[in-house]
Symmetry: C2
Subunit: 214 residues, 2 copies
Amino acid sequence: MPDPSHAQPHPAAPPERRPGGRTARIRAHVLDAVRAELGAHGYEGLTMEGVAARAGVHRATVYRRWQDTGGLLADLLDAAGQDDWQPPNTGSLHEDLTALNDEIQQSLLAQPSIAQALIAASFRSARAAHAQQQLWEDRYQRCEILVERAIQRGELPHHTDARRLLIAATAPLYHQLVLMHTPPDPHLPTHAATTATLAASAGAFNHPPPNPNP
Amino acid sequence: MPDPSHAQPHPAAPPERRPGGRTARIRAHVLDAVRAELGAHGYEGLTMEGVAARAGVHRATVYRRWQDTGGLLADLLDAAGQDDWQPPNTGSLHEDLTALNDEIQQSLLAQPSIAQALIAASFRSARAAHAQQQLWEDRYQRCEILVERAIQRGELPHHTDARRLLIAATAPLYHQLVLMHTPPDPHLPTHAATTATLAASAGAFNHPPPNPNP
């Protein structure tokens, strides 16, 4: 799901102590350094040492406060929002899902992609895994309204399972761009949206789903 | 896609030198040790040192031959086949896809899961990434016949894009079990198969796909 990392950098979230003080300044420098290091070396080259050196902050401080590179990436997401992201609202389910997938594809193909880095980090950092799970839960929850609106417009059967529909619509992007590393395909967002929309119209996400071999 | 790691261990592949000699014995011991270490500590606890110690082989030998834990996992897959895996052939597309997804779900939920370990490793090891990509390519290619048979039976429109259908059918399993870590859902294999089957019948994987907002 779209992550907030493409938003214009907000002012750093309220620091734990002394507003605008040393704690907040260190955080801002360190997170700037994370972005810059990702841009320069990619996720594989992101190290606590590199971030500390670029930020001009003692290594021990970075370890104490963020633990590992997953912790840095999780905090980068946190800092990007005051999160007011809202799902697309185009008036059609298919267009909404396509727009959503466009955003996801953009965030996964960005150079550097904070979204890709956080997913990679989630395999070795509990902090990154937790941040990633919270982000997905939040995004899928916010997107449920997109299915509710389609039901209200009469585009979908009542009792459509919004979560299953949203996962079906978005999963091919993660599978191809994060796991399989297939070359970027400009049609992928639309194709995945079409698949989910047609399946939804045929009742695939009903409780219970229809028998596809009548 | 199902990996060959659940197959009964084949005899180790032909060693580079001296059939049945020292090279083959070392490989067999090391790969046994990889399985055992994964079972004992999971992927996060898999180290070159732990494998070398358990196999009774010098650390330098393990590094020289396999480079990193991704290299060990890639070789574990190689050793499992002489790969004669064939996709399900039940006589119905929906049943075939369900059976395929059952296999994938099993391989991702196995304790330990070589499939999960290889995916995790692919984010930090070029060898693992390459092995994973080859495995997926091979499996999706072998599965294309499953779509061709459905077309021949008249279940699907001609010109159905087999690869897109197969990815739509399987992607939700990887998204939920590998990336989102949602709790295992026994209905997931069937649900994902139903979605893809209904979408396919509605022409979602045709060239070109139909307009879902007629």
